[in-house]
Symmetry: C2
Subunit: 144 residues, 2 copies
Amino acid sequence: MEQRISMITLAVADLARSRQFYETGLGWEVVSGATEGIVCFQLGGIVLALYGRAAFAEDAGLADTGTGPVRPSVALAHNTRTREEVDRVIDRAVIAGARLLKPAADAFWGGYSGYVSDPDGHLWEIAWNPFSPITEDGRFLWQA
Amino acid sequence: MEQRISMITLAVADLARSRQFYETGLGWEVVSGATEGIVCFQLGGIVLALYGRAAFAEDAGLADTGTGPVRPSVALAHNTRTREEVDRVIDRAVIAGARLLKPAADAFWGGYSGYVSDPDGHLWEIAWNPFSPITEDGRFLWQA
């Protein structure tokens, strides 16, 4: 099999609230023409989707996705082009309603990063990695 | 802020077991030179990382990531180039130790897909989307 991720779907308790966070709060552009009940964003070569919890569970054949905030076991990272941008993005996310989990700080691996969570508790690391800069077209290529 | 995901990190209970699932089981190539305690795979323009639960929680400033299987609130999708490939990939994943959550079937949105979970319970949808074929270089672009 090819080594690939095509889509990341986040289960959300309130689709309108989550859409507002990503679209209005972060300023991301929603893909038009998606099926009703799902909100999609094109991020480079993959799609990020927001999907109601009940539909998410049913689609995956899960009995339940639980209630209350998510119990995070997946972290998404948004890498920035500069160190200063980490602070700007975190500030914007917090103004948009994100919860600040870990203020930006120098990381043990040599970069600079912090963590916020979205309205459902999904984790986002905002990171500047000086060893693996984002390419012109937005790709993150691991540099050994 | 630019619309981007650079990295997806999965919290795992047993790094060796998870590495074996993705590397030996699925046949994915591990990026060399990563920091000890983290296993990375380059997937197009993003990096998938496996990271021990305790380190994951500490890095994100979480009190705890809980014990037992993960409570899935994020689904990753691997889109295939053909309908038949969905069955082949699911078979391979199950042989590698994945749990079959939902056998491949025609989906309401017009495609063909099924769900498996990895050794920790992280969700993977294996899907064929006839409306938005994977590009030659592996990108998934939403077609309205």
